[in-house]
């Protein structure tokens, strides 16, 4: 559902294949796990959102509040995200909105913006994925659990975070074909 790449990733295109991977039989109400789907249509929609946050404060961005979930059951949103703006703004991902997705295996080592030593754990910044070189991808499908970004201003003044996205709207069709190359989309529970 969420991936940080080491270089700018290619977006899915028509005739690519994807497979949703989850230990349970269904990835979402529509998509089954471990079944191949073929991309039949794509549209790329640029979309920029920004926040102005006081120093030491936090705002929550629920992706559903910004229309970043498909409404059609067979759509997949592949959202390429780059950050810009002021220095010192950290972005943490939560799925569902109560659980940090990136954390270490020891229980106490999960992100906490309000504890200095943990405030730079499991967070993204413009150094990780910039607007010029976006490397963060989030996948959403209709009726999937809420994905939220916790945005913390660790700077010393008001800061502005610019979130530039390209929403690659992909129409998917189940296929019996056995492709040799495909994109696996891992359920967030497999990331823990």
């Amino acid at each position: 559902m969420i991936e940080l790449h080491t270089k700018v990733p290619d977006l899915l295109k028509v005739n690519d294949y994807v497979r949703f991977v989850h230990t349970e039989s269904k990835f979402s109400p529509t998509f089954k796990s471990n079944v191949f789907y073929k991309v039949t249509k794509t549209v790329q929609v640029p979309y920029t959102i920004s926040f102005i946050i006081p120093e030491g404060d936090v705002t929550i961005m629920k992706l559903s509040d910004y229309g970043l979930y498909p409404q059609r059951p067979h759509s997949l949103y592949q959202i390429l995200i780059g950050f810009g703006g002021s220095d010192g703004i950290n972005v943490y991902a939560k799925i569902p909105e109560t659980d940090f997705i990136l954390r270490l295996e020891e229980a106490q080592f999960e992100p906490n913006p309000l504890i200095e030593q943990l405030s730079f754990l499991g967070c993204y910044s413009k150094e990780d994925s910039s607007i010029d070189k976006p490397k963060l991808i989030v996948y959403t499908v209709k009726d999937f659990e809420e994905i939220a970004f916790v945005i913390f201003n660790a700077g010393s003044d008001y800061g502005k975070l610019i979130i530039h996205t390209v929403v690659n709207i992909c129409q998917l069709e189940e296929t019996e074909e056995k492709p040799t190359v495909w994109k696996d989309i891992l359920h967030y529970k497999l990331l823990r």
Binding site: T48, S50, F51, I52, I53, P54, D57, V58, T59, I60, G84, G85, S86, S130, I131, D132, D157, Y158, G159, K160, I162, H164
Partner: protein, 111 residues
């Protein structure tokens, strides 16, 4: 690089409005004070913060980003090495209303 010339006004003069998807950067400030008074110039940033945990009902705030007093009859040119960050509307406020003090702001936008 765009620039704008305004006169010293105590009510303030808008220089530029930063788009939602950019940060404004004041690069150079020039003040040509031909008046007979010393004038204090303030670069202000006016914006409305987002809803946050500590402030669920934010209102518009004005932050003074730079202040300088220019002596009567003098000209100053300040080149800000890293620029002054502007999140919202950039305005210039003078301590005296006069058309004899011209303020030029050179600015740019970045991601």
């Amino acid at each position: 690089m765009p620039s704008k010339v305004v006169e010293s006004k105590t009510s303030g003069e808008e220089v530029f409005k930063t788009p939602l998807n950019r940060i404004g950067i004041v690069k150079v400030l020039e003040v040509d004070n031909k008046s007979s008074s010393d004038i204090t110039i303030t670069i202000q940033d006016v914006f409305k913060p987002s809803v946050t945990q500590n402030n669920p009902n934010p209102t518009e705030v004005t932050v003074n980003r730079f202040v300088i007093t220019v002596k009567a009859g003098t000209f100053v040119n300040i080149d800000f090495k890293d620029g002054i960050e502007i999140l919202g509307i950039c305005s210039v406020v003078g301590s005296v209303d006069t058309s004899d003090c011209k303020i030029t702001v050179h600015y740019d936008f970045k991601y």
